[in-house]
Symmetry: C2
Subunit: 444 residues, 2 copies
C-alpha cells in the first residue's frame, strides 16, 4: 500500500471545509465546542445611549441556565411613568406575555412607579399553571423590593420552551438588582437579555421639545423570530417625554407595522415576543403635542427601525442584510404577500447566500404569494440592476454586473408590480449553513 | 518552527467536515464537481409497472441543457383516450401549463389520439411571448408526427426559469421519438423528466373490473415543490380503464387534496406543477361504475399517494421522512394550518435533522399557525411517545426513549388539539446542510 500523503489529504479537506462554510481554515483540529461567532453584519460597537431621567438599570448573574454571564436585568421607573406595549399574537404565548397584557389593560394611578424584570435562558412558555405561579413570584418579589404595586411590574423570559422556570434563582437576586440600579446601566441590561444573539442591540434619538430636549433610548434582543430553543425578540424603549399612556400606545401601535412587523429571519414566530415603551415624563420639555408629537413619533420610529434592522443583522447565520421592496401592487395586502413570500422563501434566501442573482426564484415567490400579478407588467431589480421586465429577462441585463452586486453585504430586491399604488418594504437575511449548524444541534 | 503534523491536521479536518455535513470523509481531496447522491430514503429499485394498452412511450437525448442523458420523453395515446389534469395555481405559471389548461377545457371528439411531450433542463417559465411560440412549435411538431390534432398534444417543461427554451432541439428529435414508441418504455420516460431528482419515481395498481383487470401506472418527478432552478413536480398517470373525461377529472380532483396537496419540502411552489391522468379505455373490463368505480378511485388514490411520498423522500437533502398528523382540531382549516405550520417550519425541520425531539418548536408552530388552540388541551407525540399534555411536559415523558425514536428514518409528529373533529395529515422531510449545498450554488 502506498504511503498516505497526509499533507495532500489535509489540503483537500481544507478546501472542502471552505466550500462548506465559506471560511478559510487555519486551525489543525475541529473546535470541540461551538464558538459564538459575532455576525459579520454587527455594528462596530454598542452605541452611546443618552441617559433617560427616571429610568435606572441593573443586571446580575443569577445562573438561570447560562453560567458566567449576567442573565437577569431590572429596570426601575419613577412614579409618573406611562407604559405602552405590543406583544406576539401566538396562541401558545408565554405566561409572562399574558401577564403583561393583563397589566397594561388595568388603569393605574400615575402616582406609583413601575418596573421591568427580564431573564434569559428559560422562556417559561408552555409550562402550565406552574409558569403562571413563577411570574407571580418574580413580579411580586420586585414589587416588594421597590415598594410598588405588583400590577406595575412587567416581566419577560426568553430561552428554552417547556422547562419549569427556576424562579427562586431570580427572586434570590432581586435584592441585589434593587441595590445596584443606575441611570447609566442600560448596556448591561442589553447584554443580560441576549440568548443566541451575537451582539447587544441599542439605538437612540434626541429631539427638541418645547423647553428642552426629549430623549429616546432603546435596547433589543433577537436572532430569529425564534432562536434555537431560545425563543424571542424582546424590545424595551425608554423616553423622558411627558406623554399620556394612550398617546404613547397609539404611536407605538402605529409604528410597529413598518418596523418590527416588517422583519423576518426564518418565518417562525416566537412565543415570547414583547415590546415595552416607557415614558418617565422627566424631560424639562412641555408635554408632547402638535409638531413636537409628530417629531417624537418620527424619532421613535427611527429607533424602532434601527433596532429591528439590528435583529435581522444578527439573524442566525446571516451574512447578508436584504431589503425586499415591493411597489405598485394592486392592494396593501398584495404588496405584503409578495414581500413576505420573497423574504421567507428558502430558495430565495439560499440564492442570496450563494451570491446568485437568481431572479427565477423571485418570479416563483411572486407566483406562489397569492397576490394579483401580471407577468408582462412585472419589473424585477437587484439594486439598480434591472433583470426582468415585459414578461422576460430584460434586454439590458448583465449577469456579470448583477453577480458583482450580489457580493455586497447590503442588498436590495425590488419588485415593481406595475398594477396599483400599494408599496411594502420588509427586511430579511440569507439562509446559510450556519443556520443549520445552530438549529440542528441537540438542545443539551 | 515546529514541523507541521499533517496527519493530525487531516484528522481534525475530517471531523470538521463530518460535523458540517454528517458524512464521513474517505476521499483525499475535495470533489471538484457536485456529485448527485441518491437519497437515503430512495426505494431499492424502480418498480415493475404494468403495461397500459394504448399508451406507448419513448425517451431520447435532445441536449436541451443536460448532456449524456435522455431529456425529452413522448407518450402517445390511442384514439379513445380521455384526459384529466390538475395544475399549479401560481400566477407566474409557465406557458406550457396555461396551454394544457386551455386544451383540457376544449371538448374533443374521442375519435382522435392524444400525446404528452415533456423536456427537462428548461422550464420555459417567464419567457414572454417567445415561450408561447415554443409551446406551439413543440406541440405542433408532435401533432404532425403522430397525425393528431394539436389540441390533443399536452406538454410540460421543467428546469431553469426565465431562459428561452431552445425548442428546435426538441422538434429535431420528435421524429426519433415517434419511431421508437413502445408499450414498455415508461421507465425511460420516468428518467427523462428528472432534474435534481436522485431516483426515478413510479407506482402502480391493478383492480378487478367487470370482465377483466384494470391497470394503473404512474410516474413522477420532483425534489422540492421547486427544485434549485429546476422547477417542478410533474406527474403522469395512465390507466386502461374505460371512463369518461368528466368522471376521471372528478376522481383526480377529489384525490389530489389528500395526496399531492399534502406534501411539502420547502414551502416553495413551482411555476410548472402539472398532473395529467389519461385513460385509454383498452382494458377488457366494462366501463367503470358502481363498486368498481369506488375501487378504482381508491387504487388511483394509492398510486397518487405513493408517488407523492416518493417526491418527499427525494426532497432536496432529505434524510428523514416525516408524517405530521393533526387530530381533533376545531375546523378543517385549523387542522391544515397547524399541520402545514409544523411541516414548513425551518426550526422544526432542522430539529428533525438533528434527531432532537424538540417539542418546544412544535408548540411554537402551533402558536404561530393562527388556528384556535387551548394550551391545556393539546397533546404532542413523537411516534407513540407522549411528550406534552395538559399545558406542560408529560409526566411520563422519557427524553432518552424519545431521542432514540428520532434516530429512525420514518417519523411521526402527532398533535392532538383536543377541541373538535377535524383531522389532517401531511408529509415533509428534514432540512439539512445538503439543502443549502444544492440551493446556494450558483446556477452555472
Amino acid at each position: 500500500m502506498a504511503k498516505t500523503d497526509w499533507k495532500a489529504k489535509a489540503k483537500g479537506l481544507k478546501k472542502r471545509v471552505k466550500a462548506l462554510t465559506g471560511e478559510a481554515v487555519a486551525v489543525a483540529a475541529a473546535p470541540k465546542t461551538k464558538v459564538k461567532q459575532v455576525s459579520p453584519l454587527a455594528p462596530a460597537s454598542f452605541p452611546d445611549l443618552p441617559l433617560i431621567k427616571g429610568a435606572r438599570f441593573a443586571a446580575v448573574e443569577a445562573g438561570v441556565r447560562y453560567k458566567n454571564r449576567r442573565d437577569v436585568m431590572l429596570v426601575a421607573l419613577d412614579a409618573g411613568t406611562t407604559v405602552a406595549g405590543v406583544f406576539t399574537r401566538s396562541t401558545t404565548r408565554a405566561a409572562c406575555v399574558r401577564d403583561c397584557q393583563q397589566k397594561l389593560a388595568i388603569e393605574v394611578p400615575r402616582g406609583s412607579g413601575a418596573a421591568i424584570i427580564v431573564n434569559s435562558g428559560n422562556s417559561n412558555a408552555f409550562t402550565g399553571k406552574t409558569g403562571e405561579k413563577s411570574v407571580a413570584a418574580v413580579t411580586g418579589s420586585v414589587a416588594k423590593a421597590l415598594g410598588i404595586p405588583a400590577e406595575r411590574v412587567f416581566s419577560s423570559s426568553t430561552g428554552v420552551i417547556g422547562e419549569p422556570l427556576p424562579h427562586e434563582r431570580i427572586t434570590a437576586v432581586v435584592g441585589d438588582l434593587a441595590n445596584n440600579l443606575t441611570e447609566d446601566g442600560i448596556k448591561w441590561a442589553a447584554e443580560a437579555i441576549m440568548t443566541t444573539d451575537t451582539f447587544p442591540k441599542g439605538a437612540s434619538a434626541v429631539i427638541e421639545g418645547e423647553g428642552g430636549p426629549i430623549h429616546i433610548a432603546g435596547i433589543a434582543k433577537g436572532s430569529g423570530m425564534i432562536a434555537p430553543d431560545m425563543a424571542t425578540m424582546l424590545v424595551y424603549i425608554f423616553t423622558d417625554a411627558k406623554i399620556t399612556a394612550s398617546a404613547l400606545q397609539k404611536m407605538l401601535s402605529d409604528n410597529v407595522g413598518d418596523t418590527f412587523n416588517s422583519i423576518t429571519v426564518d418565518s417562525d414566530t416566537s412565543t415570547s415576543d414583547a415590546l415595552l415603551l416607557c415614558a418617565t415624563g422627566q424631560s424639562e420639555a412641555a408635554p408632547v403635542k402638535g409638531a413636537v408629537a409628530k417629531a417624537f413619533q418620527t424619532a421613535l420610529r427611527g429607533v424602532m427601525m434601527d433596532l429591528a434592522h439590528q435583529v435581522v443583522k444578527d439573524g442566525e447565520g446571516a451574512t447578508k442584510f436584504v431589503e425586499v421592496r415591493v411597489t405598485r401592487a394592486q392592494s396593501p395586502d398584495d404588496a405584503t404577500r409578495v414581500a413576505m413570500a420573497i423574504a421567507n422563501s428558502p430558495l430565495v434566501k439560499t440564492a442570496v447566500a450563494g451570491e446568485d442573482p437568481n431572479w427565477g426564484r423571485i418570479v416563483m415567490a411572486i407566483g406562489k404569494s397569492g397576490a394579483v400579478a401580471d407577468r408582462d407588467k412585472l419589473a424585477i431589480r437587484f439594486g439598480e440592476h434591472l433583470v426582468a421586465e415585459k414578461g422576460w429577462r430584460a434586454a439590458a441585463y448583465s449577469e456579470e454586473a448583477t453577480a458583482a452586486y450580489m457580493k455586497g453585504q447590503n442588498l436590495l430586491i425590488h419588485v415593481d408590480m406595475g398594477l396599483g399604488k400599494s408599496n411594502r418594504t420588509v427586511w430579511t437575511c440569507d439562509l446559510t449553513h450556519r443556520y443549520i449548524d445552530i438549529n440542528a444541534d441537540y438542545r443539551s
